[in-house]
């Protein structure tokens, strides 16, 4: 059974539909990529899954249970964790304390009575490879490092579902390679990993499955190979290769039907 099911989720802001009947599912042990052009609704999807955004309609099921209207912190308690596209590190705390807070929150009341072992904090920092920054204030570290910090913080809760929003932007090439193998390891431990990412090399090399979102809809799902060969995806990313301008003077409504074939 799938760990997470996103079922016909619709999110509307005013008159604009950001997510339009999105539907996909995730399983443990796999890295899934969620890609699509800017503004396709990827981050909104994340917000719906983690409870920061109420969907206009549709359902989110986690572990067989409908969590559509569950508060974010209760989802976290059930093993969901995420990172943010626009960084949400605790800027006035040190990198170490960022992770410590996450562990404290994870342990809850029980944690107030017993000490969080420092080794656990250090192990998490080591794991994502930012131990050397442990004593820096979180608002003074480079973007890429801060993203890894958010990952360490997310891992503190020993999540079963990990949602990463553009985790590799700000990392250099070798860091990105390390990050890719870390992702494989994390999935190898049985986690479901969902990643919004623009670095296609990374997505194509680490993902087991990819869903492509375009103007709020899942327009394609499949393995990296299938996605790369998919014409609709190429259109979504690159626009039509059609040389003939479309002969129309007024605007047509957003189409939901088949898109005309591409001449390449």
């Amino acid at each position: 059974m799938a760990l997470l099911e996103v079922d016909d989720v619709v999110v509307q802001f005013g008159g604009v539909t950001a997510v339009d009947q999105a539907r996909f599912s995730l399983e443990g042990g796999r890295v899934t990529g969620l890609i699509g052009p800017n503004g396709a609704g990827k981050t909104t999807c994340f917000n719906v899954i983690t409870g920061l955004q109420k969907p206009t309609s549709g359902h989110v099921r986690y572990d067989g249970r409908d969590i559509t209207s569950m508060q974010p912190h209760r989802r976290a308690k059930r093993g969901m964790a995420r990172t943010f596209q626009r960084l949400e590190a605790f800027g006035s705390l040190s990198v170490r304390d960022n992770v410590r807070v996450a562990l404290d929150i994870h342990h809850g009341l029980r944690g107030l009575l017993q000490r969080t072992p420092a080794s656990r904090v250090d192990a998490l920092l080591e794991r994502v490879g930012i131990a050397e920054y442990a004593d820096e204030r979180a608002d003074s570290i480079p973007t890429g490092t801060a993203r890894l910090l958010e990952l360490a913080r997310a891992l503190a809760g020993e999540p079963r579902l990990l949602l990463l929003d553009e985790p590799s932007s700000g990392l250099d090439e070798s860091e990105t390679d390390d990050f890719g193998s870390l992702l494989r390891d994390l999935a190898g431990e049985g986690r479901a990993v969902l990643m919004v990412e623009h670095d296609m090399d990374l997505v194509m090399s680490v993902c087991d499955e990819i869903h492509v979102l375009d103007f709020g809809q899942v327009i394609a799902s499949g393995t990296p190979g299938e996605i790369r060969a998919n014409r609709r995806v190429q259109e979504a990313y690159l626009g039509q290769a059609d040389e003939e301008p479309v002969e129309q003077t007024t605007l047509i409504d957003p189409i939901t039907t088949e898109i005309p074939a591409v001449q390449s």
């Binding site: 409870g51 912190h73 006035s92």
Partner: protein, 675 residues
């Protein structure tokens, strides 16, 4: 029947004046995102200016009115927008609250200083003339007010919908950056909104003065009625604001007519707007967690345990020496300072660490004092119980507004303060109307601490213990979570923290600390009354806390002494009455963006002394041992290297979407490098 009608007319008249004030508030808030707590104070000062022009200087009423509404008020609004509230819209709500509360207190002080207290009256327009509608007499003043409110409504509608600058005002609510790209000037638009808003506050103040009198406080607090009305329109919708104002005016008028005018419920009439405000706030929908908020606040340095214990011990010893030589009146003052310092400590927790603003911290102290006097068990258990009662009340206040953002929490504390002031503290089951309660001094191990000096020493010890406890909390995991919550609520939520209860707990703890201070204060004074805990003292207290440094225990200690000295200064130098408030108010306006305050200047000075001067001095006098200066240095960082504390505090995070730096890759070499 005729009485119902006449009360309805009265209600519509009051409602019309509220509507004028409230629409000004909505206009300024919606165009600049700065909630002007001082809106009523603007109206008050302008009413005084009008009095000055028309009564003292004898300028004809219509000319005086024109001068105030079209010249003085708009210029004042422009000035405030340009030099005080500009760019505050992007700051944390706590900063804009502190700054406008600073204006609030500063303007009251200013008015008291310029227009010394004396009986003043402002006649109605057209004297008392009027006409009969059936058997109800309506004055032309009332009619004028109602007509003016209609004119204001129509004028604002035309301005916002039919003119380009009005359209630009609404556009700048949506997206000021985009307006600039169109070639519009959001700065000018904001200035215009403040000019008009101030003018409307002035008009409401002037219209209401003949009815409620020319008073520093009553006119200023009218702002609560305006808030209540504006809140119905969620600070956005002008039609709903007008509806709210009218409803409120009529409700209040009926309350005067039909609610008992004596007994415990008599205060109910005065708190109708407050109850209305509460009701509206509670009915507001849940605010969603937002990402991309403010983060990374630079706080005062955290001293080590050893250092704080040493500094605390030094304070206790100092106080012990002082109390030996003090007169009994000075001992009372020292005890008062200790009380204020403790209340300020509760603000260090709530505002300095937690980032929330309470506008009624003294009211919580009052609850503690009341509980202490009522419980009448002058021992440690009684003290703890009194604090617990205050904590429970604090939690109760925070409970309904949990779902909402900081602004509403702060406003509901203000409403709570008014409620307690007017309804509860004055009731027969509390202090009674203008009454007082006896309170006993704390007894330790069955021995009452009767000697004033010893009692003050005890209070100092409690302050030190609370301070050390607070620092301990800040160092520990609760403190870390507190800071984390302030930096990113969204991250805390998705990490599994139930912030609602945490916030209730934070509010309760802070109220409990204030309550403890109140209980000890009751014991110090031995008689205690409602006037000791007036809501209006809470505001300068908050400001002084910010000026002195609301992020540090040292700041609270300095602030406590400073706040105690205020009334002393005022009684010794009556000529300066009001001026102290001007200084604090405008001090907060100036320092509102840096809540580390004076204490931080001291820390910086201490570091400088240690880092630069002391080695130089020590070099020249090698025989002297190099003593550390207790309390003024942070130990966990080498002296002189640490610079970030001196940066502007409370800064906004400037990380837009596309700041990620993508590694440099040539187009052609791309495939090869990874392939």
């Amino acid at each position: 029947m005729s009485s119902l009608l006449s009360f309805t007319v009265l209600g519509i008249f009051t409602g019309a004046a509220y509507a004028i004030a409230a629409s000004g508030l909505v206009l300024t808030y919606s165009t600049t995102r700065v909630f002007n707590v001082a809106h009523g104070a603007f109206g008050m000062v302008m009413a005084f200016v009008y009095w000055d022009f028309s009564q003292r200087q004898g300028i004809p009423a219509w000319l005086a009115l024109g001068l105030v509404l079209l010249v003085v008020a708009p210029l004042f609004g422009l000035f405030v927008q340009r030099f005080v509230t500009r760019n505050l819209g992007d700051s944390p709500v706590s900063v804009s609250l502190v700054v406008t509360v600073g204006l609030f207190v500063g303007l009251i002080g200013f008015a008291q200083w310029v227009w010394k207290p004396e009986a003043r009256s402002v006649p109605q327009f057209f004297d008392q003339a009027g006409f009969n509608l059936g058997d109800v007499f309506i004055t032309y003043h009332q009619l004028l007010t109602i007509l003016l409110s209609a004119a204001v409504a129509a004028g604002l509608f035309l301005l916002l919908n039919r003119t380009r600058v009005g359209t630009a005002m609404r556009a700048s609510v949506d997206n000021p950056e985009l307006l600039k790209l169109y070639g519009g000037k959001p700065g000018l638009v904001a200035a215009l909104a403040w000019a008009i808003g101030t003018s409307l506050a002035a008009l409401a103040g002037i219209l209401l003065t003949p009815v409620i009198g020319l008073d520093y406080y009553d006119l200023t607090l009218l702002v609560i009625n305006a808030y209540a009305a504006a809140m119905l329109g969620r600070l956005k919708s002008l039609p709903l604001t007008f509806a709210g104002a009218m409803t409120l005016g009529i409700l209040q008028s009926y309350a005067v007519a039909y609610l008992p005018s004596s007994g415990d419920l008599s205060g109910l009439r005065a708190v109708i707007p407050t109850l209305f405000l509460f009701a509206v706030i509670i009915l507001m929908p849940q605010a969603q967690l937002r990402v991309g908020q403010v983060k990374g606040i630079v706080s005062a340095p955290l001293p080590t345990v050893r250092r704080s214990v040493v500094a605390g011990g030094a304070l206790v010893v100092l106080m012990a020496l002082l109390t030996l030589s003090m007169s009994s009146s000075n001992i009372l003052l020292a005890g008062t300072a200790a009380t204020y310092a403790m209340v300020m400590l509760s603000l260090v927790l709530l505002t300095g660490y937690g980032g929330h603003v309470s506008l009624a911290q003294f009211t919580f102290a009052g609850v503690g004092a009341l509980a202490w006097a009522k419980l009448d068990s002058p021992n440690l258990l009684g003290l703890v119980l009194a604090a617990l009662v205050a904590a429970a009340v604090g939690a109760l206040v925070a409970l309904p507004v949990l779902r909402l953002t900081g602004l509403y929490l702060a406003l509901s504390t203000l409403a709570f303060g008014v409620l307690m002031d007017k309804l509860v503290f004055q009731a027969s089951f509390a202090f009674g109307f203008n009454g007082s309660l006896p309170a006993e001094r704390l007894a330790l191990l069955g021995i009452p601490v009767t000697d004033g000096g010893t009692y003050v020493l005890l209070m100092t010890i409690v302050f030190v213990a609370m301070g050390i406890g607070l620092l301990q909390l800040r160092r520990g995991r609760l403190g870390r979570i507190l800071i984390a919550m302030r930096d990113s609520p969204a991250a805390c939520g998705t990490l599994g923290l139930n912030m609602r209860w945490f916030r209730v707990g934070l509010f309760g703890l802070s109220a409990g600390m204030a309550g403890l201070a109140g209980a000890l204060f009751a014991g110090l004074r031995q008689t205690i009354s409602a006037t000791d805990f007036q809501l209006l003292s809470s505001l300068p207290l908050l400001l002084l806390a910010v000026v002195c440094g609301v992020t540090s225990v040292t700041g609270a200690a300095i602030g406590g002494v400073g706040f105690m000295l205020l009334p002393v200064l005022q009684s010794n130098y009556p000529g300066l009455a009001g001026l102290a408030f001007v200084v604090i108010g405008f001090g907060a306006v100036a320092l509102g963006r840096d809540p580390n305050g004076i204490a931080n200047l001291l820390f910086a000075l201490g570091r400088k002394v240690e880092g630069r001067l002391w080695p130089a001095v020590a070099d020249r006098m090698p025989s002297l041992p190099s003593l550390p200066l207790p309390g003024l240095r942070r130990e966990d960082e080498p002296v002189g290297k640490h610079r970030h504390v001196d940066q502007p505090a409370w800064r906004i995070d400037l990380t837009p979407d596309d700041t990620q730096v993508v590694p440099m890759e040539g187009v052609a070499g791309h495939g090869a490098s990874r392939g």
